[in-house]
């Protein structure tokens, strides 16, 4: 074994340029695969984290417009939700545990001379868990606030810093009064700004919002918590029945599908999982194609190597080398090159992933009105890196075998006659 390595080493040392070129092709292949898979993972992590929600058994109901005339109701009549719809939804099925509404509008927040515009949602306390709202400081809306129609508000950290003109110590806004429109509200909590957010989001008690919007504001959304819908079919069937019931409740055509829009987290999640699966497959296919070009490169170089060394093989055969020993020599050389440079490629590739994670994935991309992370936790698992490298080594071996076979089977007189 040691002899074989000495043989390989001396021939590799002899042909530095060829060795370097082969090695470069191999390393580059591995680097590309690892960076590709790493950024792909980053992209998927970002997708998953931007959606970020953990509660899956949730349907959001948004009002639409009737798309056909029915029983005296004209086509194009807007659906309007109010508290009766919440009550109706809650009783609609035993599968619905809770239903609650949100009243939202847009208004200005101001403190002293600082003013900004924000979405304002009148919500129930449950919203915090449902939408995974993370508090940076203070508290969220509670049942007492609802009961007392308290004029309290929870704003996001960006809004807090902006209103104070102080990015660092923004928690000091808690307890202060800010003006919403023209009504003073006391700030009781600050929630972390979402990674993916459209401007500012502020929360006030549902009951307070209801009083503020006596001018006939309707519910922007009804949220249903359900249980026991475990399949796509069950969810779709449930959605269909719910839509019919709501249509009937509002006197619209039961079969009209435009009257309500449902956003079903369970189904969305399924769609997303499917999308991610497709993406993952696509990434592996791309990786495999990269690998294939690496294999062709190795094979090509091995072919040239064998041609160049055919005279040497002739000498070796005259001195007693069997075809098998020649084959072994070439294949081992090929394995040695791919393993060594594959390892280097793996290390560099993982280094590149770390670098990309520290730069590309460290900050959200600012797209004007929306900030979002395109990449998150770029990188591949160590196992995947090892697997890709092993795959390349195996492929390199196979790539070496065909040229090696040609070298091994050449007849000694032909080989000796070949030009040096």
């Amino acid at each position: 074994m040691k002899d074989l390595f000495t043989e390989i080493w001396s021939s590799l040392r002899q042909n530095k340029l060829r060795t370097t070129l082969t090695g470069l092709a191999v390393s580059w292949g591995i680097i590309i695969i690892i960076v590709l898979l790493g950024t792909g993972n980053g992209l998927m992590n970002a997708l998953l984290s931007n959606s970020g929600d953990t509660v899956l058994n949730l349907i959001e109901v948004y009002p639409g417009i009737t798309s056909r005339a029915y029983n005296g109701m004209k086509e194009g009549t807007p659906m309007r939700f109010n508290e009766r719809d919440i009550a109706f939804s809650e009783q609609f099925s035993g599968k619905i545990d809770r239903a609650f509404g949100a009243l939202y509008f847009s208004d200005t927040l101001s403190l002293g001379r600082e003013t900004l515009s924000s979405n304002i949602e009148g919500v129930a306390p449950l919203v915090k868990d449902t939408y995974n709202i993370r508090l940076a400081a203070g508290r969220f809306i509670n049942e007492n606030d609802l009961k007392n129609n308290s004029k309290i508000i929870v704003i996001d950290s960006n809004a807090a810093s902006q209103l104070l003109g102080d990015a660092k110590d923004y928690t000091r806004i808690i307890g202060q009064d800010i003006v919403v429109g023209n009504i003073p509200f006391k700030v009781v909590g600050i929630h972390e700004t979402e990674e993916m957010t459209w401007g500012h989001d502020s929360y006030i008690p549902y009951s307070t919002a209801r009083i503020m919007r006596t001018d006939g504001a309707w519910l922007g959304r009804i949220t249903l918590h359900f249980h026991g819908l475990e399949s796509k079919a069950a969810n779709e069937e449930f959605e269909h029945r719910y839509k019919r019931a709501m249509n009937t409740f509002h006197g619209a055509d039961p079969e009209d599908t435009r009257t309500t829009y449902l956003m079903n987290r369970y189904l969305n999640n399924q769609e997303m999982s499917k999308g991610i699966r497709i993406m993952r497959t696509a990434l592996w296919i791309l990786g495999f194609l990269t690998l294939l070009s690496g294999i062709v490169g190795v094979s090509n170089i091995m072919l040239i190597t064998v041609k160049e060394r055919i005279h040497e093989f002739g000498i070796r055969k005259a001195l007693g080398a069997t075809p098998w020993s020649i084959l072994k020599l070439i294949v081992m050389e090929s394995i040695f090159i791919t393993a060594f440079f594959g390892y280097i490629g793996m290390v560099v590739g993982m280094g590149a992933d770390i670098f990309l994670d520290k730069t590309l994935a460290a900050h959200p991309m600012d797209m004007g009105i929306i900030q979002l992370y395109v990449f998150k936790n770029i990188g591949v698992g160590f196992d995947v890196a090892i697997k890709a490298t092993l795959l390349l080594i195996v492929a390199g071996t196979i790539a070496g075998i065909i040229p090696a076979w040609q070298g091994a089977k050449v007849r000694p007189i032909e080989a000796l006659r070949a030009d040096k």
Binding site: D3, S10, R316, K317, A318, L319, G320, T322, P323
Partner: protein, 240 residues
Amino acid sequence: MLIELKDVNKTYFGAQPLHVLKGINLGIERGEFVSIMGASGSGKSTLLNILGILDNYDSGEYRIDGKLIWDLSESKAAEYRNKMIGFIFQSYNLIGFKTAVENVELPLFYQGVTRHKRHELAMEYLDRLGLKEWAGHYPNEMSGGQKQRVAIARALITKPDIILADEPTGALDSKTSVEIMELLKELNEKDKLTIIVVTHESGVANYTNKIIHIKDGVIGEIEENIRHDAMIFGADGSLK
């Protein structure tokens, strides 16, 4: 009889079939120092290739020490070459990226001899040929005569039955040629080695004890040359 050829024929089938060896009958005893002489195209190289088991023949019989050389697998042929035959080539055929001693070791490597033993033996042979100081040098750092002596050491190291030398002085100047031929002569006399030299130079042939002439694929005259006066060249020590 160490080498026995009976009615050996060889044809190269190309665009025009070429009958190169037309029934060669030849016997060479152990310890003989013979040359095979002929012009280019006479078939002498083909004969050498067959003798060296580098090529096969179409019909007839070729035996080394009684063993029939016919229809051998590549591995078997490699084993026979390794154990029974030592080659000396016109162009030395040393491996460029190996040092002198590594080149000499190579046949033993294919016998599976341990590293240490191999090195020891190779150094011994290089020493015998006066190249001990050159053991660590690469072929491109040596003169033609030195390279040929490395090649001779490599041919000797497995203690083969036959040494086959194909134009061993073809690439050397006349002074060095004399040295190499003297060396082969000495190896034959002292070590009782069987040496077959293929050449087209009469001076080289004159060094051997028997000259086998080959012409147009058949064996012609076989001259006994014990007194080394068969040729006008070489008698006075000048080869070229």
